[in-house]
């Protein structure tokens, strides 16, 4: 179960089906990112795909009849209309049409009627309709999916399509479970269930042999775990996303000073960058040593390369040159990234902030924590974003506490120009379940954790920056161990629930997944589980706050009436 592999297989098949010869690939805004996340352009060139075109870009009238045109687009109304126009006066010799999802029959009829010069050779559906981020992580790239705490209809449609597509690409007919009490999770589960029942021909896979449990599609709600996306992360991928933002495998470094020109934007792909693939989940300390080793090696090699004395040396140089160049690119890229990360860590005092964040998230100690938050927020050495984050965590943690002093903290925040209006919105965003359970469970395990920490400290391997465990981890634990799920995660439809744990699990988080959760999934997969995580998007704290603001726009304040003076956003902001 590797989502990148699944997409690669589809694209490979799509290209080989078009046969040998020069080819061009016509895509739309979304499919172009799907393709680019699975393959580098140079790899596409080796597959004889030489030109790339957007179907929604301006058409040139140049005719290249000797080219084969592979069309890979989402089955939207606009795309079908554009393709009809293209087929009426075809620019290319032949067309191989691939839709990335289920397409209505009427659209196929319309296309067939437009194909007057008989240039279409193939019309197919392939279910590559999601962005593969890591082998175990996919995204649908919907930045905000809720409005007034319910589905935005377009986002619901896209999410349904995305989930149907991932099920079909793994040939799963799953049991669908959703988080009890979450409206959005239930709606999505229902939509997916409906589609599966409607498309019986597509979902007619043989049931698993010897009565094993069917794969599980588990739909969760971000509102149940608003803590995870707010915490500072210390593993490589999560950290890069938190501090520099990864957008479809690309990191924009143009704002960083002293970056060489060709590294203004770098690509981080597990498929093309071995170093990255090996260190996705390495923590910041490890990665600094790793890059040091890599650099030493590189310098040694560079040194070897430099002393070209004989013809034999020269030949040797040419022979190893491609690898050498590849390596040099990797080394500089990661060096730039890591040095920027450490600059940010220092500037934002992230060690201090992160420790306190973890404290608030994992331990109940109201007065000390309040003092520390107050001190950090008031001091003003901290960036506004980090101060806001601490206040958000405190406000959620101690919402019900007798001596809760959120309003005091908000005043402090407001005094230094922080966006304090976000805090009440966050309190409206989090679900009832989160409100009741999120920190309760923590309290129960507090004692256990404390002793564990003590032991860790004795051993000297304590990592105070990674104490927090996301809710997903516990959920998966229950799924894998085969504990009864019906109360918290009811099954959709009238299928008889299986008592045995499923062999494959697809988890989808409405409201966005995080790289911390991907790490949790990765750990389970290393133990032999087969889990894939997906989300409407992949969040860092910044994008998550935007999502919260969009989701709560226009929602009446229910839980945060006491914070009335902070409800209003200052004019000019969202």
């Amino acid at each position: 179960m590797n989502v990148i592999r699944a997409i690669q297989l589809y694209i490979d098949k799509m290209i080989t089906d078009a046969g040998p010869g020069m080819k061009m690939l016509m895509m739309d805004r979304e499919t172009i990112s799907i393709v680019s996340m699975a393959f580098a352009q140079s790899e596409m060139l080796q597959k004889e795909v030489f030109l790339f075109e957007r179907i929604d870009s301006a058409r040139s009238n140049e005719r290249l009849k000797y080219l084969k045109c592979i069309v890979f687009i989402r089955p939207t109304r606009d795309n079908v209309l554009r393709l009809q126009r293209e087929l009426r006066s075809p620019k290319y010799g032949s067309y191989y049409i691939n839709f990335s999802n289920i397409i209505p029959r009427t659209d196929i009829k319309a296309l067939a009627e437009s194909d007057e010069s008989e240039s279409v050779r193939e019309v197919k559906e392939i279910y590559a309709d999601y962005l593969p981020v890591n082998p175990n992580l996919f995204s649908l790239h919907i930045p905000t999916c809720l409005q007034a705490l319910n589905w935005n209809p377009e986002a619901l449609e896209r999410s349904t399509q995305g989930l149907v597509s991932i099920l079909l690409s793994f040939k799963f007919r799953p049991a669908i479970r959703y988080r009890a009490g979450s409206n959005v999770a239930q709606t999505l589960a229902k939509k997916v269930h409906e589609t599966i029942n409607k498309e019986t021909a597509l979902f007619s896979f043989r049931p698993p042999e010897d009565g094993a449990a069917p794969p599980l599609l588990l739909i969760l709600d971000r509102r149940d775990d608003p803590i995870t996306p707010l915490l500072n992360q210390w593993t490589y991928q999560a950290m890069v996303h938190e501090l520099l933002t990864i957008n479809k495998q690309r990191v924009d470094l143009s704002g960083v000073s002293g970056v060489p020109k060709d590294l203004k934007e770098v690509v981080l792909s597990t498929e093309q960058d071995e170093f990255y693939a090996n260190n996705l989940y390495a923590n910041f300390g490890e990665i600094a040593t790793t890059i040091k080793v890599l650099m030493d090696e590189f310098q040694k090699k560079a040194h070897d390369q430099r002393k070209i004395e004989s013809i034999a040396d020269m030949k040797n140089f040419v022979e190893t040159y491609p690898q050498f160049r590849k390596m040099s690119g990797t080394v500089t890229k990661h060096l730039v990234l890591i040095s920027e990360l450490s600059v940010q860590v220092g500037r934002q005092q992230l060690f201090e902030v992160s420790e306190l964040e973890q404290e608030i998230a994992c331990r109940a100690d109201h007065s000390t924590q309040l003092q520390r938050v107050k001190k950090l927020v008031a001091e003003g050495k901290l960036g506004a974003a980090n101060a806001l984050r601490l206040v958000l965590l405190y406000a959620m943690r101690y919402e019900r506490h007798a001596n809760c002093d959120t309003s005091g903290l908000l005043k402090l925040l407001l005094d230094r120009g922080g966006r304090s209006y976000i805090v009440p919105r966050m309190l409206e965003y989090i679900s009832t379940v989160a409100r009741q359970e999120l920190f309760n469970t923590v309290k129960i395990t507090d004692a256990v954790k404390l002793t564990r920490n003590l032991i860790k400290e004795l051993k000297g391997v304590e990592n105070v920056y990674a104490q927090h465990e996301c809710v997903l981890k516990g959920t998966l634990e229950e799924v894998i161990k085969g504990r009864p799920l019906d109360a918290q995660y009811p099954i959709m439809g009238n299928e008889v629930p299986f008592r045995r744990p499923p062999a494959e699990v697809i988890v989808f988080i409405v409201g966005g997944a995080t790289y911390e959760e991907a790490l949790a999934v990765h750990r389970y997969n290393q133990e032999g589980c087969r889990i894939v995580l997906g989300g409407t998007t992949i969040h860092n704290s910044g994008s998550f706050i935007e999502e919260v603001l969009a989701a709560t726009a226009g929602v009446p304040f229910k839980h945060s009436r006491s914070l009335q003076q902070f409800h209003q956003a200052p004019p000019g902001t969202a």
Binding site: R5, Y10, M22, F50, L51, E116, V120, E274, E319
Partner: protein, 527 residues
């Protein structure tokens, strides 16, 4: 820091026993080289492989996985011998394996090198749904209708062209006589622009279908195009662009036919289809050459690596000259590919056009293919080194055979003790002799025949020396086996000259089996 390739494989190295754990369904734990099917302890990996080969020949998958595990284990052990390498220390190794499949990411690596946890690691391509049948069902009847209509138009066009007078009046009479014109009185409005006809807007007739339209809606088909449509000339495809953009006002009405939009569209579509069938611009020809060259050389590159590996292993199947000949061939092809792609790049296309982008992309693809696949092949080994390796290998083989002979002897003696008296001693002999024929390729050498095989190596050179002379006179040998051997040798020579190294490898295999058989017979005869 972990070596991404070394570590998982290294783990595998220790799994000789853990493999058995995994398959053992009973609660009791057995250790050693157990047969996964009958749970006998076979002591050594070689014996286990041969045992499974013979006793459980139907379990092909198992045998395969067994062999894989042992080769993994060997690699693991060998690796451990070296010092720990960083991820980029062994670029050749890394590029030697197919990129997407192995060790790209930690999860993939762990899942692939760990068949115990995940038995079905090969991911198949997902679901598909083909709509072409329905598409054709809608499209084809429409196309047929168009086609018959177009054909009718073309027949009329042919008639019109045939003996068309040059003076306008004669032309009009000629046109009207060939195609029945619609009665203009019945048409009050122009069918395409819906404006009413009158003194200022006069009626005109389409010369091929005879329908009515106004002057503004009239289009023209030049005689030249018309002739091309009626009699397509494959040698010189019409180079002009689709004319519906630029043909509104032709130079003279005498040199063209007035046609309606519908007819022109049908005729032009037909013309375009004819053109694209015969139109083969130079870029396609060059590209085909490029692909042919590439297809030719593609199998040679892994072959070269195999030859090198076998040379470094100390095998005698290939010679150093084979490697150098193949290397030279790859180099020459690389040069040719480079030249062709340069010619592609030199094709004149308008700046900023898609064709220009295309030619650049082709050149780029070619250059990176040459760089990454052809120039990155490892250099030729040094001859002395290979000789040293071969000598060492021969010594090692001799030593191993000696050791195995001892072991077998011991085992045999133990067996005889156990079987003392009532056992049938020939059964063991039978078993071992049958295994010797199957095991000639496997590393397991039956102890009893080992000295004979070693002797064979020593005498073989002598023998082949005399046979070189005998080969010129094949009738002189009475033994058909020797004839066979000579024939195979001749084949090997030919295959080598033709650089078909795949065949060389199989033939060498045959040859060694034949000589083995020959010596077995000789030995039996002398006893």
């Amino acid at each position: 820091m972990a070596n991404p390739f070394g570590e998982p494989i290294g783990d595998e190295g220790a799994s000789g026993s853990s493999f058995v754990h995994g398959t053992d369904s009973d609660s009791e734990i057995l250790e050693g080289f157990l047969c996964p099917i009958c749970k006998n302890d076979l002591r050594t990996p070689e014996r286990l492989t041969v045992h499974v080969e013979q006793e459980h020949s139907e379990e092909q998958d198992l045998l395969k996985s067994l062999k894989e595990i042992f080769s993994f284990a060997k690699q693991g052990i060998l690796k451990k011998g070296k010092k720990k390498l960083g991820p980029y220390d062994s670029p050749n190794e890394a590029s030697g394996v197919k990129g997407a499949d192995v060790g790209i990411c930690p999860t993939a690596a762990s899942s692939q090198n760990n068949p115990l946890l995940q038995p079905t690691v090969v991911q198949a391509v997902g679901c598909e749904c083909d709509h072409m049948a329905y598409f054709k069902a809608v499209r084809n009847p429409r196309l047929e209708r168009y086609a018959s209509e177009t054909n009718k138009l073309i027949i009329r066009l042919d008639k019109l062209l045939d003996g068309c007078p040059t003076d306008p009046d004669g032309k009009k009479r000629h046109e009207q006589s060939k195609v029945p014109w619609i009665d203009g009185k019945l048409v009050k409005l122009c069918p395409s622009c819906a404006k009413s006809f009158g003194i200022t807007r006069r009626q005109h007739h389409c010369r091929v279908c005879g329908s009515v339209m106004c002057d503004g809606c009239s289009l023209y088909l030049s005689f030249e195009d018309a002739r091309n449509i009626v009699q397509p000339n494959p040698a010189s495809p019409t180079t002009r662009n689709r004319p519906d953009e630029g043909i509104e006002a032709p130079a003279s009405e005498t040199e063209s036919f007035r046609v309606c939009e519908h007819c022109l569209h049908l005729l032009m579509n037909r013309m375009e289809m004819q053109d694209s069938r015969v139109d083969r611009p130079p870029i396609t020809r060059l590209y085909e050459r490029l692909q042919r060259e590439r297809a030719d050389i593609e199998p040679d590159i892994p072959m070269y690596r195999r030859i090198l590996d076998s040379l470094y292993e100390g095998d005698v199947i290939f010679r150093l000259s084979d490697a150098s000949a193949l290397r030279e061939k790859i180099g020459r092809t690389a040069e040719r590919l480079d030249n062709i792609s340069k010619t592609v790049l030199a094709l004149p296309f308008a700046a900023g056009s898609r064709e220009e982008a295309l030619k650049k992309a082709i050149r780029l693809a070619c250059v990176s293919y040459i760089k990454e696949c052809m120039l990155s092949i490892p250099p030729l080994p040094v001859e002395e080194e290979i000789k040293k390796i071969q000598v060492r290998r021969r010594q090692e083989t001799a030593r191993r055979e000696e050791r195995e002979r001892m072991l077998a002897q011991e085992a045999y003696e133990r067996y005889e003790l156990l079987q003392a008296g009532n056992a049938d001693p020939t059964s063991y002999n039978n078993g071992s002799s049958s295994s010797s024929s199957t095991a000639s390729t496997a590393e397991m050498t039956n102890g009893r025949f080992a000295p004979a095989a070693a002797a064979a190596v020593a005498t073989m050179d002598n023998w082949s020396g005399t046979q070189a002379g005998a080969a010129t006179n094949p009738n002189s040998t009475a033994d058909p086996l020797i004839d066979q051997i000579n024939i195979v040798k001749g084949y090997i020579r030919q295959a080598r000259e033709a650089m078909r190294f795949e065949e060389v490898a199989t033939l060498e295999q045959n040859l060694s089996e034949l000589t083995q058989e020959f010596y077995n017979r000789q030995r039996l005869a002398s006893q």
